[in-house]
């Protein structure tokens, strides 16, 4: 921190990003793509512009190739009093499907007279077509595509290198805010509420019309999504592992109990354990889903620091619980990159317990509905969302159910700053005893 009165600001040295390796890597693709496009274009244009059109006689016509196919058409032609024979169909050899090759070979019946194109400087060089899409257009498009994408990335990188992070970011939302302000559009208010997250660094959230209170909050992560996710993972993992397990079991059944089989069996054990864990995780999330969804509604959204509001929640029964809690939470969520991996870390910046019901008897309730009064703390930090950092306000509904995994649902909403003051904003945890 610099002292406010310090006349000369201290300098920090920043090294510009080196991108030599990336440029070299991209250049390989650009050069290969350009070479493909250039070669095909040159050969086709040469034939189309300079080759001479003369009649020829088809000797034979069939399809060549086993994996990919091309028309194999042998033809004879006379040029400057000399008879020549060629089997070249197009300026550049091109193979594709058998259907395509067969269709072309059928159009050149043996014994028929067709047109071919001969290089007047090299009469042994002749083709039946000069600029067909498959031999000309397709390789050209492919080559340009192959070179174009890395070329575009390289262009953006070089352009970005000549631009500071501030200059690059000055085209972002901060400037749109300034533009809206200059047009007299309110930045925060009821009229601008729907566009807040477009112009300001706020989280994008979904809301619905409530039944008891005006705004119904959406659950942060749907339980059905987590069930499907764990199911896909369990099937994928166990599907792959089962192939190897099958091979090992077959080996043992056939009486091959050698060193290799023993090693493979020991090697597979941790993979099988992960697979069993995945199956267990699937059933765990499935049991959670069996507890019906909680509905959470609030009287207003977005809220402001210091603003009182009402909360209504409804849990359709029948349900048993030993403990039920509703908490107001402000959570810091940050994403950081280490090497090529991105990690997420979370920390609770503020937490207020709004409701706690305990029922040691775990009696069955037909349904649970409650309306609560709460308030956002006056000095609370507002919601915030940038590319890798977030301050997320949410209501957390949690329930301890005997014999089942605990239920926990987060319902996010936005908090805007309270009217201006010089109150410093700090994180703190505040849970009443």
């Amino acid at each position: 921190m610099t002292h406010p009165g310090s006349p000369i600001s201290p300098a920090r040295v920043e090294k510009p990003a080196k991108m030599g390796c990336v440029v070299a890597f991209l250049m390989i693709f650009i050069l290969v793509g350009a070479a493909i496009a250039g070669y095909f274009t040159y050969e086709n244009l040469k034939a189309a512009l300079f080759f001479k059109e003369i009649p020829c006689r088809i000797i034979s016509s069939d399809v060549a190739g086993s994996e990919s196919h091309r028309p194999h058409i042998v033809y004879e032609y006379e040029f400057n009093g000399t008879t020549h024979r060629s089997d070249r169909y197009s300026p550049v050899k091109f193979s594709a499907s058998r259907k395509w090759a067969k269709k072309i070979s059928r159009s050149y019946r043996p014994g028929s007279t067709q047109t071919c194109f001969v290089n007047p400087n090299e009469p042994t060089e002749a083709v039946l077509v000069t600029a067909e899409f498959w031999s000309f257009g397709f390789p050209l498009v492919f080559g340009l595509f192959f070179a174009g994408i890395p070329g575009f990335i390289l262009f953006a990188m070089v352009r970005g290198k000549n631009m500071s992070p501030e200059a690059s970011e000055s085209r972002g939302p901060g400037f749109r805010v300034a533009a809206r302000r200059s047009m007299g559009i309110p930045l925060i208010g009821r009229g601008a509420g729907m566009e807040l997250e477009k112009d300001l660094p706020l989280p994008r959230l979904k809301f619905h019309q409530g039944s008891q209170l005006p705004v119904r909050l959406s659950v942060a992560v749907t339980r059905l999504g987590s069930v499907i996710g764990t199911l896909i993972f369990a099937l994928f993992w166990n599907g792959i592992v089962s192939i190897f397990v099958y091979q090992v079991v077959q080996s043992w059944l056939k009486g091959r109990g050698g060193v290799f089989e023993i090693f493979l069996t020991l090697f597979l054990i941790p993979f099988v354990l992960v697979g069993l864990f995945a199956i267990g995780l699937f059933f765990y999330t499935l049991f959670k889903v069996r507890t019906k969804d909680v509905m959470m509604e609030i009287s207003k959204e977005p809220l402001r620091g210091g603003e009182p509001f009402r909360i209504y929640f409804h849990q359709p029964g029948p349900v048993r619980f030993t403990q039920l809690q509703v908490r107001l939470i402000c959570e810091e969520v940050v994403q950081y990159t280490r090497g090529t991996d991105t990690f997420t870390d979370r920390a609770i910046a503020r937490e207020l317990l709004l409701l706690e019901d305990k029922d040691p008897t775990a009696a069955t309730h037909h349904e649970i509905s409650k309306t609560l009064e709460a308030a956002i703390p006056q000095d609370a930090m507002h919601s915030f969302k940038s590319k890798s950092n977030e301050l997320l306000w949410k209501l957390r509904f949690s329930m301890a159910i005997p014999g089942r995994p605990d239920v926990e649902h987060d319902f996010a909403f936005r908090v805007l700053p309270s009217p201006p003051s010089f109150v410093p904003v700090h994180a703190e945890t505040n849970i009443p005893a």
Partner: protein
């Protein structure tokens, strides 16, 4: 270092309310014998600090490079640069010091030299 930069905020303030106008003056003096810069930029921005990747949001940006300045004319031709700035601060984000995340506000001057390191001069302020 081949440049000295003075960032002065009017009223010598280091605290502002959202929506207020921040204004001040930038004085840049290039030291003789140094290279002329390729970019000289002023920005007013917020920046995150902490465990997460760094994010920034720029609310005011301008290039301070004089039109007459040229790479071939040398550092002496540039002379000292004086520039005033003024910008209205947005509603959010407010300055914040949390556990994993901090949000800072700065007036920043960046002096970039061709194929070389860049010098960054900052004057932090608190916005609430």
């Amino acid at each position: 270092m081949s440049a000295e930069v003075e960032i002065l905020i009017d009223g010598n303030r280091d605290r502002f309310l959202r929506g207020e106008t921040i204004s001040g003056e930038i004085n840049v003096r290039f030291l003789s014998g140094g290279k002329p810069p390729s970019r000289l930029e002023l920005s007013i921005l917020w920046q995150t600090e902490g465990k997460g990747n760094v994010d920034i949001g720029v609310i005011h940006f301008e290039s301070l490079m004089p039109q007459s300045a040229g790479m071939d004319r040398g550092i002496e031709a540039m002379g000292p640069i004086h520039s005033r700035f003024s910008a209205e601060l947005p509603a959010i984000p407010l300055s914040y010091h949390g556990n994993l995340l901090k949000i800072h506000w700065f007036v920043r001057v960046r002096v970039a030299y061709p194929k070389s390191d860049e010098l960054v001069f900052e004057k932090p302020f608190w916005m609430s």
